[in-house]
């Protein structure tokens, strides 16, 4: 029924338009973005936790590594990072595989501008179907996001660990807890109250960073919104229209706002649970409201 759009009335035109395969790709990319976030967030938290713990480690090289990671990665704007890091990361992986799989390869890897590894070392293999390439791209994107946001998370957690009142840790020491036990039983549980606002902010920033996904070769919602919203002449589409980016971006705005709202509600609940019964203004407000 959608074969000749010029014959359709307003509503069915819209219905047809919004269900073109190209729009389906837009809807599909929502899922891509959500799953990226779902995987990246815990991964970044893990990187952050590792970074923060090594930054306060007593082993000097580990501490330097942790602090260097936090300072350097945090120092670079994410766009700049994405513009060259993924290619470097990809080349790094292929280089390692090349060393392992083709140890007696005669040609140099760098030939002029070209970066050439043996066919067996390609990531993914040249014969792999398209979805493998896409999955690999997605994996690289997750890794890059996790490295970048892990540095910020590390900084937040590092600060939170230092916010826990000293008396609380001292008491644990007095009761014979090892530094390790003190860390896991007292410091880590108490630090969340101090860390959550910072982590919450970071999550909000992470959500807003997903439009950068396209720089990493993943076709995200913003890419499709730009693509679909741009002015279309009748020559290349059955559904010509003027510059509709306003509408598509408005849709994106709604999507991001809704998503933020949901995140806020969840974070709020978490914070409520964490401040419950604590001797702070927040805990007090909660008590007075009850």
């Amino acid at each position: 029924m959608c074969t000749d759009p010029s014959q359709l009335d307003q509503f069915s035109w819209l219905a047809c338009y919004l269900t073109t395969p190209k729009h389906m790709a837009l809807y599909w990319s929502v899922g891509t973005v959500l799953s990226l976030l779902a995987i990246t967030a815990p991964a970044a938290l893990l990187f952050g936790f590792g970074g923060a713990t090594s930054a306060r480690s007593r082993i000097t090289p580990l501490r330097w590594f942790g602090k260097g990671y936090i300072a350097i990665v945090r120092g670079v704007p994410d766009i700049a990072f994405f513009l060259f890091f993924v290619i470097a990361l990809d080349q790094g992986f292929e280089w390692i595989r090349h060393q392992v799989k083709c140890p007696d390869w005669p040609d140099p890897i760098r030939q002029g501008n070209d970066f050439i590894v043996c066919a067996a070392a390609k990531m993914p293999l040249g014969t792999a179907p398209q979805w493998v390439h896409e999955t690999y791209g997605f994996f690289l994107a997750v890794l890059t996001f996790a490295i970048v946001f892990g540095a910020f998370a590390a900084n937040v957690l590092y600060g939170a660990m230092r916010s826990v009142p000293h008396a609380q840790l001292e008491t644990a020491a007095a009761y014979g807890m090892t530094p390790r036990q003190t860390f896991w039983r007292i410091l880590v549980p108490q630090m969340w109250v101090y860390a959550l606002p910072g982590l919450g902010n970071l999550w909000m920033v992470l959500i807003k960073a997903t439009p950068l996904l396209f720089l990493l070769g993943v076709e995200d919602i913003v890419y499709w919104a730009r693509e679909l919203g741009g002015a279309k002449t009748a020559r290349f589409t059955d559904y010509p229209h003027a510059d509709w980016r306003m509408w598509y971006f408005f849709g994106l705005l709604v999507f991001y706002l809704l998503f933020t709202r949901v995140s806020e509600v969840v974070l709020d609940r978490l914070m409520k649970r964490l401040t419950h019964g604590q001797a702070t203004v927040g805990g007090e407000a909660q008590r007075k409201a009850a």
């Binding site: 008396a167 007095a174 009761y175 014979g176 807890m177 039983r185 549980p189 108490q190 019964g277």
Partner: protein, 261 residues
Amino acid sequence: MPSTPKPTESPVIEIRDLHKRYGDLEVIKGVDVTAHRGDVVSLIGSSGSGKSTLLRCANLLEDSQKGDILFNGEPVRWSGHPRRPADPSQILRIRTNLSMVFQQFNLWAHMTILQNVMEAPVTVLGRDRDEVEAAARSYLDKVGIGDKCDVYPAQLSGGQQQRAAIARALCMEPQALLFDEPTSALDPELEQEVVKVIRELANEGRTMLIVTHDMKMAADVSDHVIFLHQGKIEEEGAPDTLFGAPKSERLQGFLASTMAV
């Protein structure tokens, strides 16, 4: 007095010529304390004389600059400059045998009262969770806050927090206990309860160092009383002689106000 020191046994806690300063402020200026098994030693002295600091040094929470600290005859090993305890496993061994009740209680804010009491025995001593819970509840009952097991420290009155802190220390069932003004927030009735508990503990053979402002309590429970003044021991002795016939002028003045009322 429950037990007499046996000279063959080395003292549980021994502090020799301890010195401690905060920056330029010398707070402890050469103090010796000896406490044998089952001994109750009270520290009295005016505010700011260094009593809390002494307890915190004994527990190795503060690094001291000079002097020795021995547990069961084993001296704490130091290293570095400024010196710090050298052997983490030694510190740990000492601390698990030594529980402290802090002047400001320092309950862990993110745990309920029951969790506060159970935490160390379970994680540090590795005791069975169910057994510890039963013990914890009985200690909380003993100090009269058995009904407050599941609330957070911030929801307790001052005296209730102090009692929770005492229960937490007791539940470790340690060889020695350090009490920093354990009855400051308690009414006379509860204070009597605490005194009773201290006597029981002494009978069980536990050693105690108690900082207190309550001369009656000091007279009542101690085997030995130490009067600290500006970081030095001004006078010490059995409670009877110390309170009955104080020699130093400072102590006479200090005690005068107690009697005055």
